[in-house]
Amino acid sequence: MRVRLSTMRYFLAEGWKSTKRNVSLISLGTMAVSIFVLGVFGLILMNLSNVNSNLRSSIEIRVYVEDNLTGQGLGALKQQIESIEGVHRVTYVSKEEGLSRLAKQLGEKAGLVDILGENPLPDTFDVRVFNADSTPDIASRISNLPHIIGVNYGQGFTEKLLSATRFIAVATVVLAVILLGAVMFIVGNTVRLSLVSRAQEIEVMKLVGATDWFIMWPFLIEGMIVGFLGSSLSGICLYVVYRACISRLGLVAPFIPIITETAPVARLCAGLVGLGVLMGVFAGGVFIKKHLEI
């Protein structure tokens, strides 16, 4: 379809005029809040998967070894672990190193270590795997080897994090569908108002032979404008609120690995605006098609 520049100007002018006449602050606000809530869920989801991938890349199996093992036995055991499929790297940590590591972690409370007197820690191997998903499997194979007291890889925690992420993802999708309904309703209502106020004009347009597309365009543009305004409002709010949150959170709880870079958050906000525009056009199109019987 070829559209003249002057025709395009007409569509835009009509769409904008109609939006100004028919859109209310309440409907824009409702739409902005709906999309804002969706954005909040999106941000939670983004952060959870960020935490998830951080954790997965740092997963390590700590293998505790019996005290009476000599250098040769330790060497043989290390080889045995290394030969398990999926194992990336095995590092030996002697009980002395383990104790100094513990002292470092305790910081100013390092005096506790002295109180213990004798070193209570066993020798350990730190095992890195290629694929985080195979961690439980490899850990159980290691624990079946001789001279192993136990293994630890934060059992249970990763699984819980994964299922939480999945839950939020599903919730986000469900919410998106519900909010789509809300946005459809708001845009539909605005378009309905402009349909009423332009009924005479549409009658004349049909009478003199304007095509259906010609009649529909201003309404699609109106939907687009309403969608853009509502979602921009929420996109900007979301961005500002998130920035404020991370600077506060950075002070209160710096250990939480929250996303602090600007780019991914800005992308999410821009995505919301795009989604708002698409939903607006879609709602406008569906509504006008239904009511014009074209």
């Binding site: 004349v204 009478l207 032979g209």
Partner: protein, 237 residues
């Protein structure tokens, strides 16, 4: 032959019969009066030509083409060649005379640079060029009808349908409108006009098609309003 009705029947969903087995043809450049009592089928006849309604049976041909079979997307293009005017003018109150006429060209995507000349020509033809900048509610009924005629003919349609165009006007103004319609007809546009105005029909002596109960009961070359007495039971106005 420009227009042909072939065995056209229109029954509305309510069960009312608009037209019943109508056969007729109208040549290019003709001026035809459609007469008959209210509910006789005059408006149905006109609406079939703009594809506002579809017949229940039969064919309506325009330039040899069966317009009951064209695709919905082609209907707008049909309406650029078959234009209609009404008793109530259907002008847009928030647009000037000029803009009302230009609107018909703009929404049918005529290039902008052609619009000005075409609108002025149409306004001149109907004799209202001096009021181009006025709004419809500043005009008399007759002047408003002239504007609506200008809007109808501005794209140079082949057929002009007029559904009781003088129905709301006094006799003197009605004659002015008739003069405009005849002038347009002289330029080659086929005009089909439904009317209850006996004087106009009798004086102008054009072709008269009389409908009653959806059937053509009379078709006279140079006819008058009243045919045989039995068809003249109801004559409002």
């Amino acid at each position: 032959m420009l227009i042909r009705f072939y065995d056209v029947t229109k029954v509305y969903p309510s069960g009312a019969t608009g037209l019943f087995s109508v056969n007729t043809f109208i040549g290019k450049g003709e001026f035809v009066f459609l007469v008959g009592p209210s509910g006789a089928g005059k408006t149905t006849f006109l609406k079939l030509l703009t594809r506002e309604i579809l017949p229940t049976r039969g064919q309506v041909l325009l330039n040899g083409r069966n317009i009951t079979r064209i695709r919905p997307t082609e209907v707008p293009y049909l309406r650029r060649t078959v234009r209609m005017i009404f008793q109530d003018f259907k002008l847009l109150p928030n647009k000037t005379v000029y803009d009302n006429v230009a609107f018909a060209l703009m929404v049918t995507e005529k290039p902008r640079r052609q619009i000005g000349a075409l609108v002025n020509e149409a306004l001149k033809l109907v004799g209202i060029e001096s009021k181009a900048e006025m709004y419809p509610d500043e005009l008399s009924g007759g002047e408003q009808q002239r504007v609506s005629i200008a809007r109808a003919i501005v794209g140079d349609p082949t057929v002009l349908l007029a559904d009781e165009p003088t129905g709301n006007l006094d006799m003197e103004t009605s004659w002015d409108i008739m003069e405009v319609l005849l002038r347009i007809n002289k330029r080659g546009t086929t005009v089909i006009m439904s009317t209850h105005n006996a004087t106009i029909v009798d004086v102008l002596k054009q072709r008269v098609i009389e409908l009653d109960n959806g059937r053509i009961v009379r078709d006279d070359e140079k006819g008058v309003y009243e045919g045989e007495a039995e068809y003249n039971a109801v004559l409002p106005g």
